[in-house]
Symmetry: C2
Subunit: 191 residues, 2 copies
DNA sequence: GTCTATAAGATGATAGAC
DNA sequence: GTCTATCATCTTATAGAC
């Protein structure tokens, strides 16, 4: 991880702020104040806010890769893998200060972001969807999942439904909404 | 509508800006510049940005009520009503400059909003869900929809899945993603 | 790496004239 | 209703000392 040095602290705090307040909802002043340094020092680590944004998404992509590699190693059953993915998604969002998904927050604000950040977000989404497609296809071969068409389509549906469930659960500050939605999603794959 | 007077123009422009750039992604300066007046004049119509936010959501709630009343009058079949609702949702979002749903955009930024705006957004969501629940229940009674448990739960699922589909389709700037998701949603109600 | 100092511009907002 | 003028504050960012 990258938590002990100032750069890592800044990255973590910035991520928290983006995920609760949005990219345009925090400033270098907030970062500096909460960490106890001056804004000039923040600029030393991340010259522009765009640099900070890119680093955050890159960080998230690595975390995602590590988490899913571990998940693949620990769990072989497709249904269980999907459930664990959803747990991971929930624990890092509504389960953590009612945060939004980093990619979703940035995607929503895409028009105000530097292009490299926007592209990094799309790559992050694609990695998520690719992992889901793999798990769903395995599950279909083992008859635990049932759906029509390419697994990509199912993966896109599952991921987008999770993002929507998060958005609404977070709006109402009601984890129950998220959990209810996940039951609908899983059930729609096993009719 | 409210398009001919300055207040109406401001409301429309502000809504467009919120739905493309977010509440924190535009300023009174943007409004004034694009309409051709000064920021002081904007403050005459909406003393604070919070007032503007409230008025926008109120405006949207009225539009929503009018649209759905018309839809109820024009269409009786539950399946067709749901499809028309989705068309309406699509046409006013990705179908319109790749805009986000107003409620979703504001919900995502909730932590930075005045409380009255946040509460207005929740009411808007609840109205959408209530209409959907009514349609879904009718459809179940007529055997066109099939789902378990209270219609409220199904309505929440449908609405959150639509919001998620919009979020992802807008991120990738690909209407096809939205349309594919709607097919999954409708199909999950008729297995 | 962190600081002080500073910049140029943006932001939400108000007072008061026309 | 719209303007000019002005506000205090915030925002991202840089130069240069320690």
């Amino acid at each position: 991880m990258s938590e002990r040095d100032t750069r890592g602290e800044l990255l973590d705090l910035a991520e928290k702020l983006v995920r609760t307040r949005g990219y345009n909802g925090f400033s270098y002043r907030d970062l500096a104040g909460q960490i106890g340094i001056k804004t000039a020092s923040v600029h030393y680590h991340f010259p522009t806010k765009g640099d900070l944004g890119e680093a955050m998404v890159e960080n998230e992509r690595e975390l995602f890769a590590r988490n899913l590699a571990r998940l693949d190693a620990e769990e072989k059953d497709p249904q269980r893998r999907l459930e664990r993915f959803i747990q991971l998604f929930q624990a890092s969002t509504i389960g953590c200060d009612n945060r939004m998904c980093l990619g979703a927050m940035l995607a929503v604000e895409q028009e105000t972001l530097p292009e490299p950040v926007r592209r990094a977000v799309l790559r992050l989404f694609e990695h998520n969807e690719a992992w889901l497609a793999k798990v769903l296809e395995e599950g279909r071969e083992q008859q635990t999942f049932r759906f029509k068409g390419p697994a990509d389509g199912a993966a896109r549906f599952v991921f987008s439904a999770l993002e929507g469930a998060l958005l609404m659960a977070r709006a109402f500050r009601d984890v129950g909404r998220f959990e209810a939605a996940t039951r609908w999603i899983i059930e729609s794959l096993s009719d």
